[in-house]
């Protein structure tokens, strides 16, 4: 059964869309991620215009992270000082990202660049996950790792005391990380938690307990602002598509949360890494294969 998406201006099979949403939600729930970096490329793969996929994914990211923020707020797991610093960087970043997206849309290179960015992000994340899993389980099975290690980041100027995280580091580091994640949010629609969390733990040396709450705080506010920017600059958010995705992905996430405890966590990580590699290979194939249509017309 097909139905018409008014902003994407195409009709799409509702069952494909619901399955996609449930699948994205299921993966998000199973692996504890926002799902933006899976939903955006998958929407493009099923034929949603790239700009609409990006804008609509931002809504899904906002919806899925905002409820998480509330629960972390109640548990007092958010480092507001760190969160606000990253949000400031993130706001500039997302504005920059949305402008780049608009420019790519205007010059017609959006699918080339977005595909390439997703491929790089997915491969880096998959490699990181698989490497970390292998390192912990195979190479250094009995070795304990120290999360907080001093690096060049701790030598940067403009130091500030983050009381909640008990850190005395330069504001430039969280600002820059926030900026980078903001660019990704504006440009690709993803929340960026899968990059932000490792950066907060390994680069900034934050405590794990406040990392998730703070990252969700940052992602929710940046996604919130990004929604307005996407609408004003790109007009690329499909209301109907967003609502279908939110409902179906919530169902998928709820199903996953009921079975996640029954599964082996290490096997899950490897499966997740492999899944990311499979999605990235589909996107890469799209760049190399001879296109069905050599000429594409889009009316302004």
């Amino acid at each position: 059964m097909n139905f018409y998406l008014p902003i994407a201006e195409i009709s799409i099979n509702i069952y494909i869309l619901i399955s996609l949403g449930i699948g994205i939600g299921f993966i998000s729930g199973l692996f504890g991620i926002g799902g933006g970096f899976i939903s955006s490329p998958l929407l493009i793969l099923v034929g949603i215009p790239p700009a609409v996929a990006v804008g609509t994914t931002t809504v899904q990211v906002f919806a899925s992270t905002s409820t998480g923020v509330v629960s972390h707020f109640q548990r007092k797991n958010i480092d507001y000082q760190m969160g606000v610093t990253m949000v400031i960087g993130g706001l500039f970043g997302t504005f920059f990202g949305v402008l780049i997206l608009n420019n790519l849309k205007n010059i017609g290179l959006i699918d080339n660049y977005l595909n390439s960015i997703y491929i790089v992000l997915l491969i880096i994340t998959a490699t990181f996950i698989l490497y970390e899993t292998a390192k912990v389980n195979i190479v250094h099975k009995d070795k304990k790792f120290k999360l907080h290690q001093h690096s060049w980041i701790h030598g940067l100027p403009l130091k500030f005391k983050y009381r909640k995280s008990k850190l005395y580091i330069s504001v430039l580091a969280p600002l820059f990380i926030g900026f980078l994640i903001g660019v990704l949010t504006g440009l690709t629609g993803i929340g960026g938690g899968f990059i932000l969390i490792p950066c907060m733990i390994y680069l900034l040396g934050m405590k794990t307990i406040s990392v998730i709450g703070t990252s969700l705080f940052n992602i929710t506010i940046v996604a919130f602002v990004s929604l307005f920017l996407q609408i004003y600059i790109n007009q690329n958010i499909d209301f109907v598509l967003a609502l279908v995705l939110i409902v179906s992905s919530s169902v998928g996430a709820a199903v996953a949360s009921r079975i996640v405890d029954l599964l082996d966590q290490e096997n899950l990580k490897v499966t997740f890494g492999m899944l990311l590699l499979i999605i990235s290979s589909f996107l890469a194939y799209d760049l190399f294969r001879t296109p069905e249509n050599l000429f594409i017309i889009n009316y302004v």
Binding site: N2, P6, V59, L287
Partner: protein, 239 residues
Amino acid sequence: MIYLEHLRIYLLSIMYKFLLIILLFCKITLASNFSLDEFDIEINSNFLGKEVVLFGNKDKESSIIFIFEGEDKDAKLTTKVKEGYLWINKTRSLNNQPSFFAIFTTPKITLNEIFLLSTLKEKHPLISNPSVRLYEIRKAMKSKNLFIEEELENLNGNLFLKKFLIPDNISPGNIKVYMYELKNNQIIKTSSKNLVIKKGGISFKLEELLKKESFIYVFILIVISLLLSLLTNLIFRRK
């Protein structure tokens, strides 16, 4: 006798009416004419494209060309070019391109012959023009089902019929329907009608809201997405 006179007058009046109908029918059939089964198409959330039936009559000796031309719009034409192993987009802007184009002819005329008719070529540049630019535009429109080149079904010499699909990605606006009647490769009659494509229902309201009241659009979206997210979490959360 009076009854017989009344009967005679009654029969005569029926005969005159019958003659008048025959004359009118002859007049109609002698002049080529056409119609569509629908002149207004609404794009709503159930819109999956719409089959339109074009029908009419023509002189047995003449040929007919129909051209459906959507409103002119600015567009971007993207060409996929292979650079190394990758397919890269090259995009250029186009001004005033018809958003839909369909051409239907009686079987007697090939598209190449139509191209030789200077009046049509000048008025509708997309017709079989061999230039690279127009070839690319035609190909791009064809890939989106926005360009149709087909023959009319000729039913019995002077009646014709064509069913075709207005695709789901059609832009709203007027589609001008031109009928050209030809004899000996000369246009002897031209007529035109309008097919109106308009957005309606929730699709139209959402698009209007997005364009005119972006802030309200996002605000409603945020509120609904938050409510839906909370609701589904509440329903499906683990006990």
